[in-house]
Amino acid sequence: MHIAPRRVTFSTAGALLAAILCGPALAQGEDGTVTFVQSVEPAGLDPTVGAPVAAGEVTWQNVFEGLVAIDRDGEIVPQLATEWEISDDGLTYTFTLRDDVTFQNGEAFDAETAKFTLDRILAEDSVSGQKALYDEIESVEAPDATTLVLTLSAPSSDLLYWLGFPAAVMVEPVSTPTNQTEPVGTGPFRVTDWRQGDRVIMERWDEYWGEAPALERIVARFISDPQAQAAAIRSGQVDVISLFGAPELFGQFAEDDAFETHVGAGEMEVVAGMNSEREPFDDARVRRALMQAIDRNAVVEAVKSGYGTPIGSHFSPASPAYVDLTDVAPYDPEAAKALLEEAGLGGGFEFTFKVPNRPYAQRSAEIMQAYFAQIGVTANIVNSDFPAAWIQDVFQDTNYDMTIIGHAEPLDIDIYNRDPYYFNYHSDAFATAMDEIANAGSVEDREAAYGEAQRILAEDLPALFIYSEPKLGIWKAGLEGVWENAPVPSNDMTDVRWSE
């Protein structure tokens, strides 16, 4: 799981910018370069180390590739592996690898390299932040140059999906110590310059095994403030903002012919987690009362200018397995009061609401506070510095009653089955549902099992499920091939081109 880092500064001044951001866009030399905005500069450019989200958003697919990839529709597609076979018991995966692939430092890619990559994730001293996703892999064998065999300790119907993720891209052994600053991948672009704090420049690499991309150069620009992002694209300094953080400005771009906009499905769910080990949050009736006290549509309207989808469980509407469960605990203050009464808290209660200093979290929390007040519950908002203090205090030490955060990692419903995890939630029924997902033999079974898991959470409410964040994309008119949805946190530029 990854929690969305939204580093936003000086947004108080945003209203002013919003008022004037209607100026004309400057002409842009439509050459072979595309510059995209990324709000968080990654710690390093190697997505296999650390938390891969920000690194992956720069280099996944552009520089690094995996055995398989996730395409723009969220489907698993072959990449460095051309095909694979899964044994009937779901415990053996046999991949056939391409034999015409070289890394950008001239070394060949083969099954040994693939084995090295996966062993490195699984190693004792691994520094992969996503190691847990690959835990079921028991051993990796490379019987010949183009065959890779994975043996699992237990079935894992999601394993292929995770192998398509930035955390599992193929790396070349010699280059691993320097991949953070000078990445070496098998992808169509090569990093030529990283000006820390400002941009990463990637040039087209001519030895690429696949089809050459149309663009000669792609540039990732690091601009954290959404107002500054808007200013940069208005003034022609950047071409693409794939995840725009200021919905209140989005409408202006939508009405402007100089830009294309798209409200895509995102993967981030904003949820108000509760500490299920603390009173009165250990009582499901109380959690449900708090959920029914909130009008999620109003929150989306106020926080996201209406862009966003209210959710009833921890799942993204972008997923094919999504079930709309918002009517399980709908907005109904009277029902909420009755539930509190039933739980012996008819007179209401008071609690501490630890809110990270991120605009979406703070705005949401303030609105929720007002809704709680309507049923006699007092939420005392306390600011928590994100990420540093929040991770320590709320996430690690679980020293909180309620908090609110956006969970950005796709398909991360299993966090409610982790022990320890900051919700302190334990449910045998949910654990069983997660087992069913892992053992699912078919796509239908898997989706049904995911549906069941969503339903359990919607009833039990270890967190208040508020909304799913949309992926607001803005790019210059005339650009083709930009991903409209974001099944994986990425800025895949390999199919992007300027139209004729």
């Binding site: 799981m1 990854h2 929690i3 580093r7 500064t9 000086f10 001044a13 002013l16 910018l17 004037i20 951001l21 100026g23 004309p24 400057l26 500069e41 710690a43 390093g44 650390g50 938390a51 989200v53 004792e124 001293d125 691994s126 520094v127 992969s128 932040g129 996503q130 190691k131 847990a132 996703l133 953070q180 600053t181 000006r195 820390q196 704090g197 400002d198 941009r199 620009r221 690091f222 601009i223 954290s224 403030d225 107002q227 500054a228 200013a231 940069a232 208005r234 003034s235 300094q237 510095d385 990420p387 540093a388 203090a389 991770i391 320590q392 205090d393 996430f395 690690q396 990692e409 991360d412």
Partner: protein, 317 residues
């Protein structure tokens, strides 16, 4: 004491203060919540992974040992390796200073270029139109924070007129012209509050010195008004102006943090801001120490400038 001895004593005391500062900074940053390894790895990381990274970063070493390591490194010119960027902190700071130093120099030059003439002419005709304008400028300039000025400049000059970029810095490699044009607006944003303070100080100093006996004597002996101003008044008024410039340096530093953020300039201010958010402790330590050193050294420079400007002080320093 000879002059050299005085300077040596002064330098020794600066070193002692820096040593003390380094300890305080180190302990404060250590005490702040947030584990760098956890922040780097994100929240799906397993405890064993976090432990492995802590070991790799050297965070599992005892506190005092890490402090001493840092000091020894400082003495030998090795500032350590950034946790997040994985490159030597010295290189990182040098890269960032290549943006921040020109920015602050440009801002200081601009502020002096605005404040000196404005302050002098305001004092020359108290209550006149220039005086009135200068007072208004000083009032507004002091009241309005520099990041706000930055936002206004982005709106008006960068977006409205399209004359200059809204932010970012392509690097000096991209050409002097591009680099300077990226620095102009942030420098103006930094310069205006500084110029406002300086205007007020200049005006007050010139007004005060104009009333002094030696100026009156010079005028009585037939020196023209304008010549008396430039020969006697202004040189003497520079003393408080220089003092104020020196005192402004800490404000200038904190100003760069805000202004660089507004203009997304990869300077030392943004580095400090982001390193703190990411708990890149080793970077924060070094940058804060650098800030402290700049403030201390600038105080010494101001003292030395006094001696140049006012011969009477030479005997004392």
């Amino acid at each position: 004491m000879t002059r050299t001895a005085r300077i040596a004593t002064r330098m020794a005391s600066i070193l002692a203060i820096l040593l003390g500062t380094s300890l305080v900074v180190f302990l404060l940053i250590e005490a702040a919540p947030g584990d760098p390894a956890e922040i780097i790895l994100g929240m799906s990381a397993e405890p064993a992974t976090v432990a492995a990274l802590r070991a790799e970063l050297g965070l599992d070493q005892p506190l005092m040992l890490r402090y001493l390591d840092w000091l020894v490194g400082l003495a030998t010119g090795d500032l350590g390796t950034s946790y997040t960027y994985g490159i030597p902190v010295g290189d990182l700071i040098a890269q960032r200073l290549a943006v921040t130093l020109p920015l602050t120099v440009l801002a200081t030059v601009m502020s002096v270029a605005i404040a000196l003439p404005l302050g002098v002419f305001a004092a020359e005709r108290p209550g006149g139109a220039v005086d009135w304008a200068a007072q208004l400028f000083a009032q507004v300039g002091i009241a309005v924070p520099n990041f706000w000025i930055g936002l206004l400049l982005i709106l008006g000059v960068a977006l409205g007129l399209g004359w200059l970029p809204t932010g970012g810095f392509a690097g000096w490699d991209a050409g002097i012209g591009a680099a300077i044009s990226a620095l102009i607006l942030p420098a103006v944003a930094l310069a205006i509050p500084q110029a406002a303070v300086l205007t007020r100080v200049t005006r007050a100093a010139v007004a005060e010195i104009t009333a002094e006996d030696f100026v009156r004597t010079a005028r009585a002996k037939g020196l023209g008004r304008r010549r008396a101003l430039w020969r006697h008044t202004v040189p003497n008024a520079l003393l408080p102006v220089v003092t104020m410039l020196g005192l402004q340096i800490p404000f200038l530093i904190s100003g760069t943090v805000l202004v660089e953020n507004v203009f997304t300039l990869p300077g030392i201010g943004t580095l400090a801001y982001n390193a703190l958010a990411q708990r890149d402790l080793i970077v924060v330590q070094n940058v804060v120490l650098l800030f402290a050193a700049i403030v201390l050294v600038s105080n010494v420079v101001v003292d030395l400038l006094y001696a140049v400007l006012d011969p009477r002080l030479r005997a004392r320093t």
